[in-house]
Symmetry: C2
């Protein structure tokens, strides 16, 4: 046989895939991984180890899992433990109840009935309670494994790859990079609405309408994304802002895609999370009967922070059953882990007053939220004290997203390297301090502004020292490049 080029190569592979970026893995993280290898090889650096501030993985940073949740999961995994006395009574009771609803009492079965019926009924109750009684239909709830894939599956329904006019996905700037990846993957077009940093990342009504109007010249906008609480911004949308978004969705006939995975991570005094569904229904039937809404929830965030287990749910509102069925089909390739979804059950139906685990379950939540508040205050203080750094109040989620000044000379230098200026800054910081941030470019930012995202997950004292190092480095950077 004559030697031939292998069939599958970069030129012959699916070209749509080539445009997709790894979530949260820009050049900074790629370099951090290289540095880790260099350290492992014994190469001397100005720091002993990397300081990872680039992800939202709470448990990797020392956050303890919720005891009741893990007890129930262990009992369901190895039911022989039900006969031992190493568990809270209510954990055993709950495990018995769950096992009873599983096919042949086993987490090792696919368990379609548990995943598509038993659990959605519990989730619907949870949603109704959260939303002050707004009804939730279990039929409209889909339990999934990791939510990144579920988000892609939901957005896939709206993408129209065959139409000559591309599908427009309207996203806030800054946005969580997954939405950019979805746009690339489905050959869609990104339509941006820039959040107003000066007004605490508020939605600018004129700006969002103008964006969509302009986009209609070259694409077909179909989906309007909102992320609340915001990632990377850490703001919580005001009720007014939510009404603006809903009105725009209604008037422009867009599917409202509400990324609400940080809904439990709201800690600023006086700030309350409203779900888009609740606000939608409170705006009356003109909206609640018409606007198509998709909302997502994840066990990876919230109080439990179970990133490694992989579960969450999507609620669909006003999405035709016929379309919705196809989501079920896409999702059917992506059956969630039963051990993961049963921990979702624990979270939507937690221990009640009087139950053995009630007090500790509540205390775990209170502790986490008060610690998150302390860390947010600390970050705001340290950043806002520094000349050339400016950080909005952080009300929720797990991050700070401060704006940083970058001197003209650094901007030119970065441009010479073909790098965005904030990426340039993050690389310099990484090489000198070992601190791994995510550059603002990965999330999008208003033209001429520069940011980074830092996860506020390290223990308080450690976080303080990290923040101070960043601020100190930035001061030196300002001086050196001015």
């Amino acid at each position: 046989m004559a030697p031939r080029k292998r069939l599958l190569n970069l030129e012959t592979m699916n070209q749509a895939v080539l445009d997709v970026k790894v979530p949260i893995l820009g050049s900074v993280l790629a370099r951090a991984l290289e540095i880790q290898q260099e350290i492992d090889q014994g190469i001397v650096k100005p720091f002993k180890k990397l300081t990872k501030c680039h992800f939202g993985d709470q448990q990797a940073m020392g956050h303890k899992p919720r005891t009741f949740l893990r007890q129930v999961a262990a009992l369901c995994t190895y039911p022989e433990l039900l006969d031992t006395d190493n568990f809270a009574e209510d954990a055993k009771r709950r495990a018995r109840e769950i096992l009873k609803t599983l096919d042949n009492n086993s987490v090792g079965s696919y368990n379609p009935t548990y995943i598509t019926q038993v659990l959605p009924r519990k989730i619907a109750k949870f949603i109704e309670q959260r939303d002050g009684g707004v009804p939730s239909d279990p039929k409209n709830i889909v339990v999934s494994g990791g939510m990144s894939k579920a988000v892609l599956n939901a957005l896939a329904l709206a993408a129209d790859e065959e139409s000559p006019l591309k599908t427009g996905f309207v996203v806030p700037v800054p946005y969580y990079p997954l939405y950019g990846d979805a746009i690339a993957l489905f050959g869609a077009t990104k339509v941006e609405y820039v959040l107003d940093e000066e007004r605490g990342w508020a939605v600018n009504e004129e700006n969002i309408r103008e964006s969509i109007r302009a986009a209609r010249q070259h694409c077909n906008p179909k989906v309007l994304c909102a992320i609340n609480p915001g990632n990377p911004t850490g703001h919580v949308l005001s009720r007014d802002n939510m009404e603006v978004i809903i009105r725009v969705a209604a008037e422009e006939n867009l599917l409202l895609f509400a990324d609400e995975v940080y809904q439990e991570n709201v800690f600023a005094p006086g700030v309350v999370f409203h779900s888009f569904k609740k606000v939608l229904f409170e705006m009356g039937p003109e909206y609640s009967e018409r606007v198509q809404l998709v909302s997502i929830y994840s066990i990876s965030k919230g109080i439990s922070g179970e990133c490694g287990l992989r579960s969450g749910y999507i609620e669909f509102v006003n999405v035709d059953q016929a379309v919705f069925n196809y989501f079920g089909i896409l999702k059917s390739f992506d059956i969630p882990s039963v051990i993961a979804v049963l921990t979702l059950e624990v979270l939507v139906d937690p221990p009640q007053p009087g139950d053995t685990s009630y007090e500790s379950f509540q205390a775990e939540a209170q502790n986490l939220l008060s610690t998150q508040l302390e860390k947010a205050r600390l970050a705001e203080e340290i950043f806002n004290r520094a000349p050339g750094i400016c950080c909005n109040p952080i009300q929720g989620a797990l991050y700070a997203f401060p704006r940083i000044q970058i001197p003209e000379r650094a901007i030119s230098l970065a441009q010479g390297r073909g790098q965005a200026p904030d990426i340039f800054f993050c690389h310099l910081l990484l090489e000198e301090t070992g601190i791994v941030l995510v550059d603002g470019t990965s999330f999008g930012q208003a033209k001429g502004t520069y940011h980074f995202r830092i996860s506020l997950l390290h223990p308080l004292e450690e976080l303080k020292s990290i923040l101070e190092k960043i601020v100190e480095f930035h001061a030196k950077f300002l001086q050196e490049y001015s």
Copy 2:
């Protein structure tokens, strides 16, 4: 606002998705689900409950999980249990080892290093041992959650949706329906090679070459799928047949996609599973250095049958690193559950002689395989004794796929209903007996032949009575419609 049509409806949604079928959920299962509801409502049927023979979910049918695997999983989920004495010593030791390799010792972290480095190294050793020393590079191994999604991600790399000439996926007939779904989802074209039922589902070399040659007139064949052991057929490919497939892949420059998820479920005396990788390497460098191979493994099948946990791996051979990187990206939206993947570690690195759990771990495997053999023999016997039913020897996997005679009058009747004749048969059987099978049409079958797939998962005595009921029903059916 004037009432407007909601944006997302069947006409506006992604049209590619409309062509996708639910895996293994044809009209027969859909009707079975309705019947279940009718029974729940108190409607009287000729049977008390459904007899589910349509899926490969071993644990749902009473198969016990592997003790060592579940012990390790429970210990890692709730490490406080390490201080109790409810576990085998080696389970504790293994759990401690695994926890040490996890980020912050937690299954609740994303654990990228464990998933992409630690575990692939163990899997590579397992593969080398399985293949008699053929080298395996951990860099070419990707650990995934459920393998359906992983298969779609791998096939997505090859699909070229932008080319006017559609991508051809060459699949055996019968094939596992997931491959048909992938073809629909990626707008590809199905190219069939019909297995020779008369020769125990052997590959017909002339037939496969001719199929591909003919397909080149209207599409661009890029992937050649082989399923070994066969689903739904239960045959194990002979070494000769594997060589044919490899030669065709080499000569026709196709990516060889080897679905080997039933590799441990081989029980017929004298029948041995060879991996495609092993055969490829034994055919010499002319093949082993050129043929691009993708092989998949799943914890849902094999001895453990852990369908509910969701894990497995893919090994890539000769796939350019550049392309392979993009698989990693697609996969990155689909992070597996850490509890699931650590059970994969247990399976590829099982207890060794001298370990406390060694004997019982081995015994569990032996028991399962000998039971599977008994069930296979029983199915062959009962089917082949029946006039108008014919069943090939079942050597592996979990199913029988007998050919059934359907009288002309039944064929016309079915056609009048717009139903394939085998679907017609399965519906009649379901309505009268409550037995849920999957029709041959769902898998594809040679023109003019009719089949069904039955899972051989019920306990032996129960299975015997099910098989007898089917045979009896078919005899009556032959009589009634002849």
